[in-house]
Amino acid sequence: MNIWAPILVLGGIALAFALVSVVAGSFTGPRRYNRARLDSYECGIEPTPQPAGGGRFPIKYYVTAMLFIVFDIEIVFLYPWAVTFDALKIFGLVEMLLFIATVFIAYTYVWRRGGLDWD
C-alpha cells in the first residue's frame, strides 16, 4: 500500500468521528427555545451590535501575519539545506550564512522600527 494511504485511513476515522459527534450533539441534548440564550454572549449585557463582516480589529495582527510569512519562507529554505548539509560542504554553509544574515538585516530593521512591539 502507498505510504500516504494510512494517513487517509486515520483521517477518515477522525472525520467520521467528528461528523458523528457534531451531528449527534443536536439529538442527544434538549432543545428548548429561549431568545436570550441564542444571543451573542457578553456576560449578560445586551450584545454589542456587530457591523457587517465582523468589524475591525487591530492592525498589529496583520503585521504579525506578514512577519510570519517572511520567517516561514526562511524556514522553507532552511529545511532542504539542513537535510543536504553534508553534501553541500563549505559552499552550502557560506550561502546559507549569507541568507540568514540577509534575513537578519530585515529582522533588525523591523525591530528598530517597532514592528515587534505590541502596544
Binding site: 500500500m1 505510504i3 500516504w4 494511504a5 494510512p6 494517513i7 485511513v9 486515520l10 476515522i13 477522525a14 468521528f17 467528528a18 461528523l19 459527534s21 457534531v22 449527534a24 450533539g25 443536536s26 442527544t28 441534548g29 434538549p30 432543545r31 428548548r32 440564550r37 441564542l38 444571543d39 451573542s40 454572549y41 457578553e42 456576560c43 450584545p47 454589542t48 456587530q50 465582523g54 480589529f57 495582527y61 504579525t64 501575519a65 512577519l67 510570519f68 520567517f71 516561514d72 524556514i75 532552511l78 529545511y79 539542513a82 537535510v83 548539509f85 560542504k89 563549505i90 550564512l97 540568514i100 534575513v103 537578519f104 529582522y107 525591530w111 515587534l116 512591539d117 505590541w118 502596544d119
Partner: protein
C-alpha cells in the same frame, strides 16, 4: 524505511484504529491526570469519585456535555459554525500518523513497524497538518458572530503562528544532524546521543514554543477568562465544545510526542535499560517520555501565572527567533569545521557551552538596556507634587507617587513627649521617595 507502505489492508486499519483510540484515551487520561496533579499541587485532592481514583471523571464529563443543549447563536454563520470544530479536531488526530511508537515487531506473523506510516517529509507533514488546525480556531471565532470569540480567535492564531516560527527554527539543527525529515530516521540518528543533549538550545526553544503552540498555561492568553471569557469557543456548547477540548488535549499529546521523537530519542530506552532496545519494549520507553513531558505541561500550569500579551509576543519574536537563528549558524559552522578538520569532542562541547553562555548574557544585557531606557524615559517626566487628600471623594485611598502625606495634627500629642518625637517631624520638603512616605506613615501609626 523499507517496511513502510508494505502493510496489508487489515494491518493498516488496525494501526489506524489503535492510534485513534490511543489519542482519545490519552485525552481522557490527561484531563484526569492534570486535575489530579494540579489538585495535589494546590493541597486539594482533585476528582476521586467517578471510577477508581476518579479515572472515569473525564468520561462522565463527556457524557454530561453530550446531554447539554447544542446552541447555535442567532448571529452565527451556521455552516462555518458547524464545520469549525471538525476542522480543528481532524488535523489534530492526523499528526500522530508519522510518530514512531516502536521499532520492528511481528503482529500475527506479519513484520511491521510500530508506526502508522512514515514519509520522507515526515516532520514537514506534521507542521503542515498542525497548521490546518489554526483554521478551525479562526473560523470558530469568526463564525460565532460575537465579540469575545473573535478577539480570542485572533489572539490564538497570532500566538500559534508566532510560535510556529520558533518551533520550525528549532528543528533545523536536528535536520542538520539527522540528514533526514523522516521521523523514524531521526529516531535512528539518536542511537548514540539524544538531540536534547547534543542540541540543548534547540530543545529549550522547542519546549517553550510547544507550550505557546498549544495555548497552554502560562501562555493561555486566548482563554484569559478575566479578559475574554472562554476565548474562541465561548459560543460553543455540547459536543461541539467537547471537540475543541479534545483537539486541545490531542495537540498537547502531539507536541509532546514530537518532542520525544525529535529530541528525546523516541522509543529508544534510556540509561539503566539500554539493553532493552527491541520490539515491544519501544512503546514503554516512548510512553514514559511522553508522560514526563505531559507532566511538565501540568507542572507549568500549577506554577506560573499567565503572561501579559505584549510580554508573550516579545518572548517569541525578540528572544526565541534570534537565539534560534544564531544557534543554527553556530551548529552549521561547527559541523563544517568538524568534517573538514576534525575537532575533538571537548572542543565542541566547550564551544557549545560558550556560545550558549554568550547568548544568555546577550539577552540579559539587552533586557537590562531596555529596562534602563524605559526607566530613563519614566524618570524624565516631572512628577507634579500635589497635596494628598486621604479621603478623596469619601473613600480612603493610598497616596500616588509624588503626593505628599499631610502632617497629622493632634494625634501626635497622645503619649509622645514633645522632645522625643524624632520620627514624627514633618517629611523633608520636596523629598517624595515612596519609602520615606511609608516610613513616616508607620511612625505615625506607632
Amino acid at each position: 524505511m523499507e517496511l513502510f507502505g508494505r502493510d496489508v489492508w487489515w494491518m493498516v486499519l488496525l494501526k489506524a484504529v489503535v492510534v485513534f483510540v490511543f489519542l482519545v484515551v490519552m485525552t481522557l487520561f490527561t484531563i484526569w491526570f492534570e486535575r489530579r496533579v494540579v489538585g495535589r499541587m494546590q493541597h486539594r485532592i482533585g476528582p476521586n469519585r467517578v471510577g477508581p481514583f476518579g479515572l472515569l471523571q473525564s468520561l462522565a464529563d463527556g457524557v454530561k456535555l453530550a446531554l447539554k443543549e447544542d446552541i447555535v447563536p442567532v448571529a452565527a454563520d451556521k455552516i462555518v459554525f458547524f464545520l469549525a470544530p471538525i476542522l480543528s479536531v481532524v488535523p489534530a488526530f492526523m499528526v500522530l500518523a508519522v510518530i514512531p511508537f516502536g521499532g520492528e515487531v511481528s503482529i500475527f506473523g506479519h513484520h511491521t513497524m510500530l508506526q502508522l506510516t512514515d514519509l520522507p517529509v515526515g516532520v514537514l507533514y506534521v507542521l503542515a497538518v498542525a497548521s490546518v488546525g489554526v483554521y478551525g480556531i479562526v473560523l470558530a471565532g469568526w463564525s460565532s458572530g460575537s465579540t469575545y470569540p473573535l478577539l480570542g480567535a485572533l489572539r490564538s492564531s497570532a500566538q500559534v503562528i508566532s510560535y510556529e516560527v520558533a518551533m520550525g527554527l528549532s528543528f533545523v539543527a536536528v535536520f542538520l544532524y539527522s540528514g533526514s525529515l523522516s521521523t523514524s530516521q531521526i529516531v535512528g540518528a539518536q542511537k548514540s546521543i539524544w538531540f536534547a543533549v547534543a542540541l540543548p538550545i534547540s530543545f529549550l526553544v522547542y519546549l517553550v514554543a510547544m507550550v505557546g503552540e498549544t495555548n497552554r498555561a502560562p501562555f493561555d492568553l486566548p482563554e484569559a477568562e478575566s479578559e475574554l471569557v472562554g476565548g474562541f469557543h465561548t459560543e460553543y456548547s455540547s459536543l461541539k465544545f467537547a471537540l475543541f477540548f479534545l483537539a486541545e488535549y490531542i495537540n498537547m499529546v502531539n507536541v509532546s510526542a514530537l518532542a520525544t521523537t525529535m529530541f528525546l530519542g523516541g522509543y529508544r530506552p534510556f540509561w539503566p535499560f539500554s539493553q532493552l532496545d527491541t520490539g515491544w519494549w519501544g512503546p514503554l520507553w516512548f510512553m514514559i517520555k511522553l508522560m514526563a513531558l505531559l507532566f511538565v505541561f501540568v507542572w507549568l500550569r500549577g506554577t506560573l501565572p499567565r503572561l501579559r500579551y505584549d510580554q508573550f509576543m516579545k518572548l517569541g519574536w525578540k528572544l526565541l527567533i534570534p537565539v534560534s537563528l544564531v544557534w543554527i549558524a553556530f551548529v552549521a559552522v561547527i559541523r563544517t569545521v568538524n568534517s573538514q578538520y576534525g575537532l575533538s569532542r571537548s572542543t565542541i562541547v566547550a564551544g557549545g557551552l560558550s556560545i550558549a553562555g554568550l547568548l544568555i548574557i546577550a539577552s540579559f544585557v539587552a533586557e537590562a538596556t531596555a529596562r534602563r531606557k524605559e526607566r530613563a524615559a519614566e524618570g524624565g517626566e516631572v512628577v507634579e507634587e500635589t497635596e494628598f487628600d486621604p479621603f478623596a471623594g469619601g473613600h480612603p485611598v493610598p497616596p500616588m507617587p509624588g503626593q505628599r502625606l499631610p502632617v497629622p495634627v493632634g494625634v501626635l500629642a497622645l503619649g509622645a513627649a514633645p522632645d522625643g518625637a524624632t520620627g514624627l517631624s514633618s517629611p523633608p520638603g520636596g523629598d517624595t521617595d515612596p519609602d520615606d512616605v511609608r516610613a513616616d506613615q508607620e511612625d505615625t501609626r506607632a
